[in-house]
Symmetry: C2
């Protein structure tokens, strides 16, 4: 599938199902045009206009965004058979074929959403070549493996402003994700305007909520990009923010205030009062009208049952209804809820806690606690999606998420009929430790690897290929407007008090941020704690260290003078950095916590230099030196200031090689 020539294969992500390359290249210059040659409508024309405008940003070449006067002579001819469904729809035909030759390109699709996917593939083909920007000649046939390819954004723990949501929709469509699952309420915030129950947002959001106009705007924005929007109102737990406005809905008397910390809270809807269901009926009815997608997420996770157990009235209700325990009470609640959701014309989806033998099969299960839940749901006749393994807030490396297949683990044993119920998956961006400024860098580029898992074939699993393409696509995503790369340096500059932040950047490039667990262990966070520290700027995964690891591996495998030079240069930079960093950090509260980390980085640099010297020497390294240094590495790789030093890894590779040689 690789192209020959000076350039790497086009950095397509997700990889198409089938691609054949040919010789020749299509020049992409100021005369580039795109036009619909068969079906067209306002939505497709708008998509073509956006596509040309983005290609213009991507290349820096002015292009006329208007449609070609004569479609047959457009550089890219888009032959779309029909509009397809009015709203992006689960399971619709998203396939396309794309042919590029020196004389032009042709994209064919059955629906607008298929054409949208193909346009993104074309944009990824365009790169500078020997004559200027160009797209290589290819024949591509493509269609998704799974129909449900989602990103969940939690707008409750920290509010995520509309422009941030919108730019993430642009990035999602660029990697062919097609579902925004919008987590709109949780203990820490109720983020949608209800006209029926206005105290929900008035007392539950600190003023940070989406108006109904904004919701409609985002839903329309997503539709234009072929993305479904599924709202989640998490019930009966995670409802703390509902209760300042409506304490009578809770299972214990109030008063209540908005949650400021994280975790599983006690406050929970009262499943025994008819008023609860009347409220949910009216509220869900209002929300169902706002979100056109047929699927409606009711959460259902992490119900600790404390308020239920403590309430004599609720326990009495349970006895009367022969509900043996909280689990049965929750199942009772879900069955009532399902009737309400269905009354408003929606299909219910919930987290895997709602799975229960009594739950009708029409309900879709979102599995987050493991792959078994997914397999159980599918085996019991439910359709299901996987989110376990795709939790972006844990800040795992991309290869971790990439290695998890929705049809692996317990799901591998499903019959074909059962396996067909696995609709796909969703990456989850929980927002305890992100806000509008930092969320992009926690989603991108790693979500692109997950997007490939959902779209491309099961056999597309080579991590090295994934990384090199992901890092190229990460740069392309800049032009969609997401700030995952752009936000990095300003956050470091902010900490450096107006001075050149070079030494801080060296440290940040060598570090990797801790996710949810590491941060929760480190200190007492609340939703009001500023997210303006080193750990918030540092990336989940260091690209520059990954490249150093490659160099170390090459240097170990055989003669690699350029790689050795790069390693030596970087180690020397680290070794020299601490002195510079300490000068920068003097009297600066934001940098104070990093002083030991910086010292460790310089120690790593010195260790790396010595390891290089010993590798070049004819004598094996002394065993006691190796064991002392290994202990030191073990110390250094521990979490510090809520980050780890990725820089440990290339040094460790060299040390391991020295140990191997000295055995």
């Amino acid at each position: 599938m690789l192209l020959s020539g000076a350039h790497a294969a086009p950095a397509l992500m997700p990889l198409p199902v089938r691609m054949e390359t040919a010789s020749g290249r299509l020049a992409v210059d100021g005369g580039f045009t795109a036009a619909a040659t068969a079906f067209s409508d306002a939505r497709l024309e708008a998509a073509l206009g956006r596509f040309v405008a983005r290609l213009s940003r991507q290349t820096g070449i002015p292009m006329a965004a208007g449609k070609a006067e004569d479609g047959a002579h457009a550089s890219l001819r888009v032959e779309c058979a029909a509009a397809g469904p009015l709203w992006p729809t689960l399971g619709e035909d998203e396939s396309y074929t794309l042919d590029v030759s020196a004389s032009g390109a042709q994209l064919k699709a059955a629906t607008i959403d298929g054409a949208l996917r193909g346009l993104e593939t074309f944009a990824q083909l365009v790169a500078p070549g020997a004559e200027g920007f160009e797209a290589p000649a290819v024949h591509i046939e493509d269609r998704p493996r799974f129909p449900w390819r989602g990103l969940m954004i939690d707008a409750a723990r920290h509010f995520v402003p509309v422009p941030v949501i919108e730019r993430n929709l642009d990035a999602m469509t660029a990697v062919k994700l097609n579902v925004l699952h919008w987590h709109l309420s949780d203990d820490q915030g109720f983020r949608v305007e209800s006209k029926r129950y206005p105290r929900l947002q008035q007392l539950g959001s600190d003023g940070l909520f989406y108006t109904q106009g904004e919701i409609r705007q985002v839903v329309a924005y997503a539709r234009d990009r072929g993305i479904r929007v599924i709202p989640e109102f998490d019930v009966p737990g995670h409802t703390n923010s509902w209760f300042p406005g409506y304490p009578e809905l809770a299972s214990a008397p109030g008063p209540y205030t908005i949650g400021r910390t994280w975790g599983v809270f006690d406050p929970c809807l009262d499943p025994t009062r008819e008023e609860t269901y009347r409220f949910l009926d009216a509220f869900f009815g209002e929300m169902a009208a706002l979100f056109p997608d047929p699927y409606f997420h009711i959460g259902g996770d992490e119900v600790n049952g404390k308020q239920w157990k403590d309430s004599a009235k609720i326990q009495e209700f349970a006895r009367q209804h022969r509900l043996a325990d909280n689990r049965a009470l929750h199942a009772y609640f879900n069955q009532r809820l399902l009737k309400i959701v269905e009354k408003h014309g929606k299909i219910m989806i919930g987290w895997d806690e709602i799975l229960d033998p009594a739950l009708p099969q029409a309900t879709v299960i979102q599995s987050w606690r493991g792959q078994n839940g997914l397999a159980d749901a599918a085996a019991q006749g439910h359709r299901a999606i996987l989110s376990w393994g795709y939790y972006l807030d844990h800040l795992q490396p991309a290869r971790y998420h990439y290695g998890i297949d929705p049809l692996a683990g317990a799901a591998a044993k499903l019959t074909p009929e059962q396996a067909a119920r696995v609709l796909g998956g969703e990456a989850c961006m929980w927002a305890e430790y992100v806000n509008g400024e930092t969320i992009d860098s926690r989603i991108w580029p790693r979500a692109a690897a997950i997007a490939e898992r959902f779209w491309s074939s099961k056999e597309t699993t080579a991590a090295d290929s994934m990384y090199s393409r992901m890092e190229a696509v990460s740069r392309l995503l800049d032009w969609t407007g997401v700030q995952h790369r752009a936000g990095y340096q300003p956050m470091l500059d902010r900490m450096a008090a107006g001075r050149p932040a070079g030494p801080l950047r060296v440290l940040a490039d060598a570090a990797e941020a801790q996710g949810l667990g590491g941060r929760a262990r480190a200190r007492k966070y609340t939703s009001l704690v500023p997210l303006n520290r080193f750990v918030d700027a540092v990336r989940p995964e260091s690209e520059s260290v990954r490249l150093l690891e490659q160099s170390a591996a090459k240097a170990i495998a055989g003669p690699a003078p350029e790689d050795l030079a790069l390693l030596r240069e970087r180690f020397a930079l680290w070794a020299a950095n601490d002195q510079r960093f300490q000068a920068l950090a003097e009297g600066n509260a934001l940098l104070a916590e990093l002083k030991p980390l910086s010292k460790d980085l310089s120690a790593l640099g010195a260790m790396g230099l010595e390891a290089l010297d010993r590798l070049a020497a004819s004598q094996p390294a002394p065993a006691d030196w190796i064991s002392a240094e290994t202990r030191e590495l073990t110390r250094i790789e521990r979490v510090n200031a809520e980050v780890t030093l990725a820089a440990v890894r290339p040094v460790k590779l060299l040390l391991d090689e020295l140990a191997r040689k000295s055995r």
Copy 2:
């Protein structure tokens, strides 16, 4: 004026007239509030809301944007005596005093515009200190030296979209500039919607123009920030774009098309037809209603008179009216124009070509051809502003602009009464070689140095202080939204075809872009040529090289091991860079032109390393080595690919020192 303590003095720019520091610091945290304690209105409240929102971005600390419930207890109490004029007005009171102590801050001003200036000073005081973000205790009394402190943006040569204009207004107000001079028509584009003469924009703009609604929006946006907006419609020359729609206005028969190249064109309004004046009367009337400021710019520059000379009819008219030459004809035109401008209640301003003994003194002269024109105008009773020396498009270093004083040169000899007619100046951002993507990096941060020239005392001239403050303020400007820093890496990434752009960045950091002259000499540009090359990404002035020059100077002056280490590190990086760059550039048309430049940078690196070795040696360097290397430096410092290698400068410092020592 410097503060003691670990941190440098606050990076205030422009420097206030008077500042006294005291001990103590005001903590700036999540509880920070700002409130008006005397006069207030919607404009001031909006300004306080924006101020807190930006302080929140600048610090990364969530702050409630609403006003403090009790103004007397706000962290920053703003005591504004009155609204001041309805619209920002030339010569209004912009003074303020600002007192910061550990217990709070108080800002006093006579007008809202004065309060706006003080808010920006406060924002610049806030930086991370030993306990977190804080503002040092100070007493500041401040007022501008000149009342007219402008930035001219040419939206004609390349269109500048509204969001780009708006973010530049935010940056302007941050450095206390108070005039946006908006160059709205030129040969290459007519950028405003006229309802009276719609073919102006329909046939003269390629569809890239501001609607009247957008103009009103920008004018209101500027007013909120204390900035006047002065439109310029350049007549009678630079009018090529008027003629595709209205060829009858020209001095020669058409047809005409929009200009695509730069320079002085022949097409010119016909000053002999009454229809010309009727057209200008109606059109200026329409525009005068759109721009509330009393000043109205009619251009008047670069009239080559070719069409006038070639027209028998125009020559006959001149004879009849005893107009001896084109200059007299132009003066006649200007007098007719002045009547029209005044009829619509405006004060005429024009470029210095319009200065003529017959021109009434009410007209304001904008001097761009030299300081003499300014002095002449003031001596002849005109008010005048200086733009000569402030042409940002020449890409001169900040210190060059900073060194030019509106009251120096010929103006130094003016009487006090004449000197008082010098209202200030304007930085000019002509747009032949910038577009919406690159314009910010050509304006900022250098315009901040010019802003200081216009605001601060005449004696504020130390370039080193200016640079260190400008570079800090440059980083602060990120939070206003201008992309002068953010746009750099994406432009390099675009060229690097998705691969890590490290070697390209090393080269770009060491280079400085050529301005108007250098680019015009280099190749045939048109307005359709993409501005996506290395020269477009590279900064006008290299901050990292400036710091290296400092290190070289220190290393020459005395023992400076850290500076020597930094020099050695950077030289080694340059020396190693070419091999990496050539690998990146293979088969890449956008990088091909840079291959010789990259080779030169590596040669410089090697030369720098050798110079350091020779400086450390006890023997003086051989004279023939010095002269050979000096010749090589002279070769290397020539323009190449429309940039120069700033990297030459620190190497030259070392070489000069070696030459001195060997004498």
